[in-house]
């Protein structure tokens, strides 16, 4: 018997769209035990919220997220608003006994995030952070291959997330479209927005980061405020680069920037082990590059695995071999796994607790970028 899961969405922007699509689509392709119902969307701008609700089939609109949280018919709150609003909403939702799903990063800082973790754990409510790239099938396959021991001892991990959309000094900061450039709303710049994805995947695939040193830079020092029109100093990091030592002894290099001309959403990762290496690229997200050192020398090389077969993660539910899927499917998989987790009682990762570690690393990067010193993260070596 399929149960109903009533979803209350906070926000109507880009991420709310990606999540709504996932809530709708998951039961069409996966046997989930729960059927999500788009119950209500909350936003101060009720005009935009209403249009959004009509497009996606939400039954109602609330002008304040507090109303949503108070509604007894809502099972889960999905938080799709700027980072500075995550904590208050999540904590209130947990206290109201709602499941909480929060867009990443969990919060602007570890200090802000920790009470969120404590709130969901105190309330005992299912919770999850939308680090969606874990559920790109190719990335999930990378995880599976590592878990199968195909790489052996790990020596290197490297990841980058490159974009180019803020090179022009005319791009403003703040407001609905560019709050990611406003340090008040975002907490940090590319580190929390882009590198956090790389870090979440890295910790999932390769374990904890023990220590790091970082370089951060703000190329454009002042930008206009999108709301007031006034020039204001830019408080975010436009670029960050990091050297890390993982607890398992491997070395990591990380980089994120919005000033790498020609790159749109170029999240790439590579991991080098004793017996093999794996690489992945978000721009061609259906492929894993795999080097298997155990292959006889004459035939050895990098294999491009087109991750579209039934035996690949999640793919048995989609089309036929050779037919690719896209960005949005990672969210569909996250919903499917979340619903599975409800059914099985084994929560889908990353939970708030899991995601706290990434925020801690982000904090260390920003700190090291200022001090120039290595930061010890206290992870066991």
């Amino acid at each position: 018997m399929t149960k109903t899961l009533n979803v209350g969405m906070v926000g109507y922007g880009f991420m709310a769209r990606a999540h709504s699509n996932a809530w709708v689509k998951a039961p069409h392709f996966f046997d989930t035990g729960y059927k999500p119902v788009l119950k209500a969307v909350a936003a101060r701008n009720t005009g935009k919220a209403t249009a959004f609700a009509q497009q996606w089939g939400y039954e109602a609109v609330e002008s304040d997220w507090r109303r949503l949280v108070e509604r007894p018919d809502i099972d889960a709150i999905d938080i799709c608003v700027p980072n500075d609003l995550h904590a208050e909403i999540a904590i209130a939702a947990a206290k109201a006994g709602k499941m909480v799903l929060c867009e990443k990063p969990l919060a602007r800082t570890e200090a802000e995030a920790l009470p969120m973790v404590e709130a969901v754990e105190a309330a005992g409510v299912p919770n999850m952070v939308w680090y969606n790239y874990r559920r790109v099938p190719a990335v999930t396959l990378v995880k599976r291959m590592i878990d199968q021991g195909l790489l052996g001892h790990i020596y290197h991990y490297r990841a980058k997330f490159l974009q180019d959309w803020t090179i022009s000094p005319d791009v403003p900061q703040g407001g609905a479209a560019t709050w990611r450039l406003d340090v008040e709303a975002a907490g940090s710049g590319v580190t929390g927005d882009l590198l956090a994805h790389c870090l979440d995947t890295a910790i999932w695939l390769n374990g904890s980061i023990a220590s790091l040193t970082a370089m951060t830079e703000t190329f454009v020092k002042e930008r206009k405020d999108a709301v007031t029109g006034a020039m204001r100093p830019v408080g975010i990091d436009d670029a960050s680069a990091v050297l890390t030592r993982f607890a398992n002894g491997s070395l990591g290099t990380f980089e994120s920037t919005r000033y790498a001309r020609g790159h749109k959403a170029a999240y790439t990762l590579e991991i080098n082990g004793e017996n093999g290496s794996l690489a992945w690229d978000l721009h061609d997200l259906n492929r894993v590059s795999w080097f298997d050192h155990r292959t006889p020398g004459q035939l050895r090389g990098w294999t491009s695995i087109l991750v579209t077969d039934g035996e690949h993660p999640y793919l048995g539910k989609w089309w036929v071999p050779g037919l690719i899927i896209g960005y949005e499917h990672s969210f569909v998989h996250q919903v499917a796994d979340f619903l599975d987790g409800l059914a099985s009682g084994k929560p889908a990762a990353p939970t708030f607790r899991d995601a706290l570690e990434t925020t801690r690393v982000c904090d260390a990067i920003i700190a090291s970028g200022k001090s120039g010193a290595w930061v010890d993260l206290g992870a066991a070596g």
Copy 2:
């Protein structure tokens, strides 16, 4: 004011799933003027049809497509059954005044397809054939670039559709899963199943084919019948290769096969013009390869355009630059364009009439494969 469009689906297989997804998704992402409603699904196997209806939210199930066609509350009939059933259903639907959307190829032969064209035209009902690859954004961009005159005079067109799933002689023919190997159900083998896609795109991009010669082959001469278990001669073409002369004077080479180990759905095309060339590959469907001869020589090369920007076809409705979409989106775009066509009165292509030409070319390929002779298709040069 958004109008309702009640859809009646015939079939519950792979294509019915792809189409249902498109009917559901189109209004979430496109402003279409019409809101499709999944009204009913028809199939003899009502158990499977019921499960399908539940998964996708169809309101009802009919055990016979004739009932569906008779229902006054159905606006459009969507035909997703084996090729040998297309004609009867489409003609009955047209006579009943329904819009008709038919999976490709239109029918097994031109002789079978022509009455379908006549029926929809006599009834004056909107009609469309699901040659979905025209609406992969990268392919649409290729069309746009050709229409903008970027290539100049055309010399060459080449396309292939390679698969490898029937190499084993243990794959049966006939039945629900492998009717594509049964010449009675399918009409032809790879020519109608795979090459028809290549031909539809080619005619759309490069105009009519004037003449051709073909080689066809059936590698596995006998296969077990999936229903009866008896060995039967194989009547389909396992592979076909074609040389063509287009009406515009350019030369074409085409190939399709299910015996090209390592290729899953490798539809590739390339067009060479005086001033530039364009290429595309279904396995990396978000990219166009573009060679611009007007670039200064030192900087000339093949440019890989990642078709994910707002100014690319359809992409303004999806995510942000760099975030890719997949196979299923081509169907969503086809629904969106079909609904736009209803609203504007300018029908979306390819109509039944448009698709008839591809079936005529397929017939010529099968004939030439037997005779070894060139076939004149009578297209004006």
Copy 3:
């Protein structure tokens, strides 16, 4: 004890340069048993021949190839002149007891080539045709992998050789630089110049071609004569496309053109077998693409083998893994193998006899291009 091999070169053009480089370099990298000595170069234009001799260290210049053939101190004649001169020189050289190395194609037609084969065989002199691409290490590796049985039963072979340098109607025909566009000098157009390479490799890798049908086209009907300046009809094929049946039952598709914008020397080949597939591209000549169906499904894909390791063909003699070689090395390898053949008494392929088959296929292509009919090549099926 290393013996001396005195080389007499006929011609001073592009191919003479490639061959001279190979004669000089081979003993620096390979232990060959013979040390080539650049003895003399023959050409009517003694001014250009003298400059060429100085650049490469030839000891002498002859104004007539007959003198070179008559010189008792010359061991081997290397023919690097237009195709219409091959036969006379090769036959005279053979009669004079010289080894003969002839640039490809052997001659303009089979009728012209056959007496050359008979002459070298009657004289019992070592002989070879410079189909150099067999000795690109990656292509040699493809041959080795096929011989090792990695592909199993073969279904498909496809090859193309695409260029774009004659699109402009202002390119003349005839003369030293553009004799390849003059049917009198060249015998045919792209078929003998480009496709002959594809055919030689195909026959080497996949066995004889049993039958074929072809389409040929001359896009530019008239070109200026490079010598007289007068407009003359163009007699060559600008493009050719061919469907073949190999004696082993596999299907072949071949294409060559000089009107494929963006392609410089795009010789690509692919072969599909029951258990695997192989592909190669001259533009990236150090790589083999290899699909191994025996790999577990989850890890299957196309492997890009970077052919630079010591265990790869010829590579043990060059640099270290990862450091690539280029076009010219195929000629060096051919010299090394020719010299090895002298030492071992086991002649290096392709001999004149071997190369005759390719010329026969070229003739059939030109004939079929005119008749539109299939040509049976009489190879056992």
Copy 4:
């Protein structure tokens, strides 16, 4: 009138082979004004030196490099021995008035290198360090494009040099084959061997490095001595990763390792500017990847320039468009440019003075790897 340049080679190993090939080949392809003569090779192991001399045509063998330096008929000394021997030989050669060409890195440390610079400058002799990758045509094209202002303001530079040949702890250190693992002979590990190449190119393309912080690691702590067979601590860096700030304000990330499974000689670089980006990969060394932001948005993408046309650097001297060259050609170009520099009086870069900067940066990396602190290199910002 071509002059003779008598070359005295010190060493007979891998680099001596690469250099000898370059000395021989340069005048065959370039009009250089000087004709190199392979006069003598010096090495303690006269047996191996004699075999080397015979293979390459050196006229004589010396058992001590001092004899070579003393010979009045030698014009230039080419140093191809382990790093710890560079200084003494170079200084003696300079004092003897010889031109000096030294394999990279110039010496083990800046302290050791500085007297070498002073010696050649005091003697006024032509001098050069073999940072050969500057003269891979694609890299030279990158330099030309930057100099033409195509990139605009630079934000990012990243380079890596990845290998995998020392992962096994059974690889020894010291001796003729593995002196690169012996800190006494090499000075450092991957930093001086691999990263030095990346740094030389980076400084050439993007200017001086102002400051840096580094992480270095020795994964295998003890290795057998190749000569004595005894286990000894490993003193080199197996991997190094570096964050830099360039004097022009751009950020750099660098990495080198011999523990990146699947990478043989994977030197890659990328530079991101305001108006465009450029990337290059040694494994496919004939290509430049180029993103031109000025292209209209719809057509924008990464262009793969196949650097084989006559208008590309050095390529007018080689084959025809589409036909690639390899690793060894970079040395040929360096010889050609060195000889041109002699003729023109404008010395070819990098001179000893130029190369000193790279060694200084290497020292800083090793120091920072130990201290964990940023190092200020004193370059003007």
